[in-house]
């Protein structure tokens, strides 16, 4: 737990040298197999930063953190796992990074991800896949798979990810850790490399609920540099909230869409909630056949617009060919982007083109409203909606990557929270044949702290210990 690390560091029970060495020792031992990082900082630099940070009195003084590589870090390259940004070094910090530094956190490294966060398995990375520390033949999920694996493998206790359609929750689920997709507008996106603005949020990932809440309390809050942040600042993190009397809606349509291994584990979690006094009732999310096409139409449209900025001239991959601007840009983009990114930009361009804009884009936005309305209606009856985070166990490396529809289907449980803007977290529900299964708790808008409070309670009720994987 972060508070133990801080206590040990400040009381002298743990020297900065031992603390940093412990992390690097694990990295030296297993990172070659896991490959959680794209850029790992030098031990000496990290140690110097930890020592300097311990002179201050921040909420995270001296604590190591891993950062997804689509969050801008001043002076540390930020690649988005793309050839396009392979050597891009931001000249500024994202707002969340500034806030973390103000509280004394020290960046250990930048973590692997799907290229531009487009993927659900961390396999579309230009730098190769990250592997699941619980089973190296399997993916850790994505797109924040590097951050999740860095926690599961014991390199760090906390990390930042970003979640556009499940990119924090899916890897959290597959690696037996906690991850929150915050309410839209609570965390500044300034310095987050944009993929789909209206859907995504930066969010915390941690080994336990308490650290998750602490990290969220530090990164959340209004920011003049992001016009879509709202006036909301959680104070001091979440507390333990007993589930007695909490009204829980069990989303049976998402349970039915899941493999037996997953649904049986989730049912066990729900039974535990009920035995602790929750009032559970079966209900349906509704529109479940439509959430994925709706989500992907919107995400690809926004992506094609956002990724128009990469021309290779001001920054990014430059093929150094001579020619007019169309030829140069097309070549830079053709060579700099990977397959999934090109697929999504081209589809987005198609959807937004004359003649198809109404048929696909506007229609999807209308379905989005219906989905949001339906979620709001459910929250007039329930405090929490429970479902599997993903419908499947972690797939094997290579199992879904060549079939886009199969890969997109993994997001059926997660995209709704992004479409509606509401918070959702994934927490460990248990293991099935040695593989982690995550449960998703979705709540009404701005109930982030309530969700985390319930997660903290359930973590204790389940006796979850946050064991490290030993790859």
């Amino acid at each position: 737990m972060i508070k133990d690390i801080i206590n040990d560091l400040s009381s002298g029970n743990l020297s900065p040298e031992d603390y940093v060495r412990r992390s690097f020792e694990r990295i030296e031992r297993v990172e070659g197999r896991v490959r959680a990082f794209i850029t790992l900082r030098k031990e000496e630099e990290v140690l110097n930063d930890v020592k300097a940070s311990l002179r201050g009195k921040g909420k995270l003084s001296g604590v190591l953190i891993a950062i997804k590589d689509n969050i801008s870090t001043n002076g540390i390259r930020t690649t988005c796992a793309s050839k396009m940004l392979e050597d891009y070094v931001p000249p500024y910090d994202a707002t969340v990074i500034r806030r973390l530094k103000e509280e004394g956190a020290v960046i250990l490294g930048k973590t692997n991800m799907d290229e531009f966060a487009m993927g659900s398995t961390t396999e579309t990375s230009y730098f190769g896949p990250t592997r699941n520390p619980w089973d190296l033949t399997r993916t850790p999920g994505g797109s924040s798979g590097g951050s999740a694996s860095a926690i599961a493998a014991g390199f760090v206790e906390i990390a930042l990810g970003s979640d556009t359609g499940g990119s924090i929750r899916t890897p959290a689920s597959f690696t037996s850790i906690f991850g929150l997709k915050p309410s839209y507008g609570t965390v500044s996106r300034y310095g987050l490399v944009a993929y789909a603005n209206s859907l995504e949020q930066i969010g915390p990932m941690a080994r336990n609920g308490e650290d998750l809440a602490l990290l969220f309390s530090i990164i959340a809050g209004p920011d003049d540099r992001d016009a879509t942040t709202i006036d909301y600042a959680p104070q001091g993190g979440a507390i333990n909230i007993p589930v007695k009397g909490v009204r829980v809606g069990i989303l049976t349509d998402l349970l039915e869409a899941s493999d037996k291994a997953v649904s049986s584990t989730i049912t066990g979690f729900v039974d535990k909630m009920v035995s602790e006094g929750a009032i559970a009732e079966e209900t349906k999310l509704g529109l479940v056949d439509y959430v994925l096409p709706t989500y992907y139409i919107i995400a690809m449209s926004e992506a094609s617009s956002n990724l128009a900025r990469y021309d290779g001239v001001r920054y990014g991959y430059n093929s150094l060919v001579e020619g007019n601007w169309r030829e140069v840009y097309s070549k830079n983009r053709g060579e700099g982007f990977g397959r999934e990114v090109k697929r999504r930009i081209l589809l987005g361009s198609f959807i937004l083109s004359a003649g198809y804009y109404e048929q696909f884009y506007i229609k999807a936005l209308k379905v989005r409203r219906l989905i949001r309305n339906s979620v709001e209606k459910l929250f007039s009856k329930y405090d929490i909606l429970v479902s599997p985070t993903t419908p499947v166990l972690p797939p094997r490396i290579g199992e879904v990557i060549d079939d886009p529809i199969k890969m997109y289907a993994m997001d059926v449980g997660t995209v709704t929270a992004n479409l509606a803007g509401v918070p959702a977290l994934s927490m460990p529900a248990g293991f099935y044949n040695g593989l982690p299964v995550g449960v998703q708790l979705m709540g009404r808008y701005l109930s982030d702290n309530f969700l985390m409070g319930v997660a903290i309670f359930m973590e204790k009720a389940l006796g979850h210990k946050g064991d490290l994987a030993n790859p």
Partner: protein, 97 residues
């Protein structure tokens, strides 16, 4: 509505998106696009009469005063450009094409 995807359509998209594909990538993407658009057509089943599109989860944004703030020094701001000269970025020719 079924959309027929062929190499000609993909070439048009390459030109719209300013991405040039290799012939092999093009053949692959013809296949993918067809399947993904079929998957998207699913939303045609829903009755959307009188439903307003929802572009964004928030109804309004936070605006700051339209005043300049401390900018990055020029050298810092252009340090990631591959081709530059005397504090300027060298871009490709904008005539033709």
């Amino acid at each position: 509505m079924k959309v027929s995807v062929d190499e000609e359509l993909v070439r048009k998209l390459e030109s719209l998106a300013l991405i040039s594909l290799s012939p092999e990538e093009r053949r692959e993407i013809v296949k993918d696009l067809s399947r993904i658009l079929d998957f998207f057509n699913k939303i045609d089943e829903i009755n959307l009469e009188d439903v307003e599109p929802m572009f964004h989860p928030l109804s309004q944004g936070r605006l700051r005063k339209d005043q300049p703030r401390d900018p990055l020094p020029r050298d810092e701001a252009i340090k990631n450009a591959k081709k530059k000269k005397d504090g300027y970025i060298i871009g490709p020719s904008t005539t033709g094409g």
